[in-house]
Symmetry: C2
Subunit: 107 residues, 2 copies
DNA sequence: TTTATATATTGCAATATTACGATAATAAAC
DNA sequence: GTTTATTATCGTAATATTGCAATATATAAA
């Protein structure tokens, strides 16, 4: 099958899983870390920095955008991709809430 | 291709992405939440509770075990799957460290 | 307008994931 | 020992993801 049965889970569970899923690729982790360490954030730098093809980086950026973690602005002929800090913090809070309400209670 | 190029990333980036990835499925989120709310934690309950086939649940449990989040003990003819709280907290800390060291610095 | 540069999109091949039925393995109950 | 109940594993089909070359798009520079 290969298809995740989203309909049998709650919206919260699906959202949470989606956040985790988008962060669940080393290229996307690396992209976020790289952008975070720059003063400028130009997509083309990422291609050299990360070592994946331009098309692949563009695809990963799209996924990060899909959950609102990045926003991009046209900056001349390049793009300025930046971390959306409000969204970033909101997602961190949701993940922590999940971690904090899930506890061991046996063995 | 379909194969993630792990070799171009650091071990830390790969580990972090792996944690996110394992948590990136609603069934696994639901399994953790369910186990957390029970006093006992029997796999067979999960099949009814989650609504996926027994083989599928078993597969998801295996993935959660792979990053050490669950440990199972034989309990008669069933299994007692529990959350490994030390590991749980350790992973939460690693994820938070990632979130806290990644900051917005432009736009 | 043409050319050069930067990013996005499309199409495709390879691999991974999800899900499940069938079957094996294990242990309790009889 | 046989049966029953529970979980794991195998095999397989369907779908998703990853990655890249080629191409399209958009803007700046010449």
């Amino acid at each position: 099958m290969g298809i995740t049965k989203n309909q049998i889970f709650t919206d919260k569970q699906n959202d949470l899983a989606q956040f985790f899923k988008v962060l669940g690729h080393p290229a996307r982790v690396a992209i976020l870390q790289y952008i975070s360490n720059q003063n400028a954030c130009i997509c083309n730098d990422l291609v050299e920095e990360i070592g994946l093809a331009q098309a692949t980086i563009s695809q990963h950026l799209k996924e990060l955008k899909s959950i609102g973690l990045l926003h991009g602005e046209v900056e001349g002929k390049s793009m300025c991709y930046c971390i959306n800090i409000e969204r970033w913090t909101a997602i961190q809070n949701q993940l922590n809430s999940f971690f904090n309400t899930t506890k061991s209670n046996c063995c």
